[in-house]
Symmetry: C2
Subunit: 502 residues, 2 copies
């Protein structure tokens, strides 16, 4: 069907009702001005134009008759009135698309680690098993939230105020002197990285090498220069290298994931943090602390964050997304009096405000105590899965393979001997419906690690067993197997733990 034509009526724009001749002259002028494009377009039905102009249908009908008489519009059977083509244009219809496509930057390759139902096992996911998430409770909170009269009003661009107050209360319980006026909610923690990197006057941003991959991709797309600071999940931060890079390149901001850094699963010690704090003062860089991981750890109230240690210039970020429900996507940043306005302005121009319905539901979830109860249950289950994962690694991994023991949480790192061809291993595992995560894109240059993350939060113990057994069988092809994956108790070789330590 041909599109309709939009008509302008200068006269009607000043409140006066036009007569039939006003309508004729306005339409005629527009058809003559744009005939090549408009030929074949439909005129609005009589009742529609009459409604719009506030005139009778007779007036419009009279006007259309006159336009037909002038050869500017034509009837087509029962299908309405059309703009008539000029005689010479009838044979050559205008090309369908005259408009060029805008020239966009090339799209980076962003592979997703989100597991799919009935898909292959995703061994590297840092998501939490959806079966452990409180869907029923959250559903009740949505019902309660939708009754809040304030939701029909207009969102606070900074975030639903009762939610900001609830978050501030929780942070104060963890030793952070948080003011709700300095909290800005975001669409997941990813948006915190976006707001901060776009609000910076200048780069570079320094971050871990290997980096959180989607953050690195974001900073690159935002044209912010990046510095990689090497960490090793067994040895920690290479502080000597760090200071050299920082002294030479002078980052404006250091983006650190203090607990369960993705992909290494590393958590910083306070001694490391103390050195970093000294440098931030000596070399003049700000700090953005990503604390997504800590509260998945049992007794996480005893793991202090940087913000608690060193005051309110540290930008602190966290998220409820993975822990409550991925489809909720609520994160936040805690800034301070000086830094809140710039971040809030960037949020307002980027998305206006977050969807307040989800924020109100999450607020209810926190206020009812559901979050605390959920986290206790979740931590217990993650502890169980963590211990089971360690047991499986001890029992099945051939000599030379090492892994970290982060004490719980969602993810650890497995390091292989250099003789293992990781891409080939991944291909062979894919044939068994097991996906090994690749973090090559997370490194700056040649990777100094030779392994993969192993996420135990997303897989049931049975799934994890299948995954680790599959890896072990393949690794034994390369490394030779001291240990059979099907050995009854799995504990087949003395000295295994010492070996793992090597």
């Amino acid at each position: 069907m041909a599109p309709y034509v939009s008509l302008a009526f200068g006269g009607s724009r000043s409140g006066r009702r036009p007569g039939a001749l006003d309508i004729v002259s306005a339409i005629a002028a527009q058809i003559l001005a744009g005939r090549q494009t408009l030929a074949g377009c439909r005129l609005p039905p009589i009742r529609v134009l009459a409604h719009r102009l506030g005139v009778s249908k007779n007036t419009v009908s009279t006007a259309y008759d006159e336009l037909k008489a002038r050869g500017l519009i034509e009837s087509r059977a029962t299908r309405g009135l059309y703009v008539a083509a000029a005689t010479e244009a009838r044979k050559a219809p205008a090309p369908r698309s005259l408009v060029p496509a805008p020239a966009f930057k090339p799209a980076p390759d962003l592979t997703s680690a989100a597991p799919r139902k009935n898909g292959p096992l995703q061994l590297g996911s840092v998501f939490i098993d959806p079966r452990l998430l409180p869907r029923q409770r959250l559903s009740a909170c949505f019902r309660a939230a939708l009754k809040r009269p304030s939701l029909a009003d207009f969102a606070d661009p900074q975030g639903f105020p009762p939610l900001r107050a609830a978050i501030a209360r929780r942070l104060r319980e963890r030793g952070i002197d948080a003011d709700p006026d300095h909290i800005i909610t975001t669409v997941g923690s990813q948006q915190v990285l976006d707001l901060v990197s776009r609000s910076l006057q200048a780069g570079p941003i320094a971050t871990e090498n290997p980096a959180y991959q989607l953050g690195k991709a974001l900073f690159e797309r935002n044209d912010v220069a990046l510095l990689g600071l090497p960490i090793d999940p067994f040895e920690g931060a290479d502080l000597e290298r760090w200071e050299k890079v920082i002294a030479a390149q002078r980052p404006s901001l250091l983006y650190l994931t203090t607990h369960f850094q993705n992909p290494t699963g590393y958590s910083y010690s306070s001694a490391e943090i103390a050195r970093i704090l000294e440098w931030s003062s000596a070399y003049g860089f700000g700090i953005l602390e990503d604390d997504w991981g800590s509260d998945m750890l049992s007794y996480s109230e005893f793991t202090p964050c940087l913000r608690a240690l060193r005051g309110d210039n540290v930008l602190y970020m966290n998220s409820f997304t993975k822990k409550v429900l991925p489809s909720l996507r609520i994160g936040y940043v805690l800034a301070n009096q000086a830094t809140t306005p710039a971040l809030l302005a960037t949020k307002r121009v980027s998305i206006g405000s977050c969807p307040a319905i989800g924020e109100a539901a999450l607020c209810e979830f926190l206020e009812q105590g559901y979050y605390d109860a959920h986290m206790l249950t979740l931590q217990r289950e993650l502890d169980r899965r963590y211990r089971h994962c360690l047991d499986l690694l001890r029992h099945h991994m051939p000599e030379g393979v090492r892994w970290t023991a982060p004490g719980g949480g969602p993810v650890l790192w497995v390091e292989c001997p250099r003789s293992v061809d990781l891409p080939e291993l991944a291909v062979r595992l894919r044939d068994k419906q097991v996906l090994l995560p690749f973090s090559d894109g997370a490194f700056f240059g040649v990777p100094h690690l030779h392994g993969f993350k192993l996420g135990y939060a997303c897989l049931t113990p049975a799934e994890m067993q299948r995954g680790i057994e599959a890896i072990a069988v393949e690794l034994q092809r390369t490394l030779g197997g001291a240990c059979s994956p099907t050995s009854p108790n799995g504990d087949c070789a003395p000295g295994r733990e010492a070996r793992a330590r090597a």
Copy 2:
């Protein structure tokens, strides 16, 4: 309370259970390395460290005793164990904040036109009266959506697939050949502007002068060069000026609001669009069409959009936010095969994905037919408010004041004689609890219009009457009043409509 200290245990990181002496040496090394920062921090309780390391409480207790004996940690009454300060450091505690604040760009002044309950009348809001919005229906849709099993899974970064399919069906009914694979959902239509402007290889972006103000602020924050193309809500686009600017400055993209442009309330005619399409081909710019306004107009199915007229290179954007519930914040952009990947990559790095719960609820709302029913009711009510607003203007406005008659929808433009001091008028109205919208920041340079937008979608007829009467009283002080705002039928002077037309 002092913060806790995070401890690293290299040994435990490779799966072996550490002994008491391993714990002592690891903690001692970390305290000695970071003593200045760590002094006064608390040690984690024994049961916590025992849990983390997978050792007995006795082992940790033995280690802590040894550290006390070495003077590295100390007991404080019943309050636990603390890192002991070195003797010389005891008197000079470390300053509370060593970390510099990151240097952010200055925050622009973004005043909000969102009406507040019990606040003053906001005459320029383009929001819709919350009393007209379908909260009950939407609440039912949230309940239904939360039962969808797919919501516990991981969001599709492009948007909830059934919602994209439902949007594509609606667009096809309006003559747009839309493929769900080319639709990307966003946090309100504001995010479409963000994604498009950040995906562009280069500017400038051309847009209306006066511009949609939050869009202009966004492009400026994104460091995209801007061109203003003058429009006049009475005369339309100044096409002669447009072509001069376009030919000289060569925009890469033209951002147009084809219906109810904010702030002018202007809708383009097909003849204007035909000229713009010719130029897009001749001068090689892409087009981003913002169609937020059209479906608030009765019979809007007869107002074609640019995308329908000229094929799939036009980027088409729209939003459900204002029309369904502001706290929902769901918009979308329809791109094509070539342009979708870049926009999707920018979305993924910016926010990951939108909250899928709201998308699933909106999908339900569309699929159940609630949206169509709601829009019919809404359009009827907006028509009523529009006609009432026109009646009030005709009856109360003094000579020399003009206004547009867009035929319905949410907003029109009122233009005053230059002799009216608009800032002074605004001050006097504010004293009467009536807020006149200021669009000065929307113009490029000196405003060529001298008036304000009047939004009738957000105000009840009684509120609108109070607002217009207040304006009329104040304008009569300047212009002299031919017409008393309290005149019984308001229709006090012959020739009023002809005057309004001048």
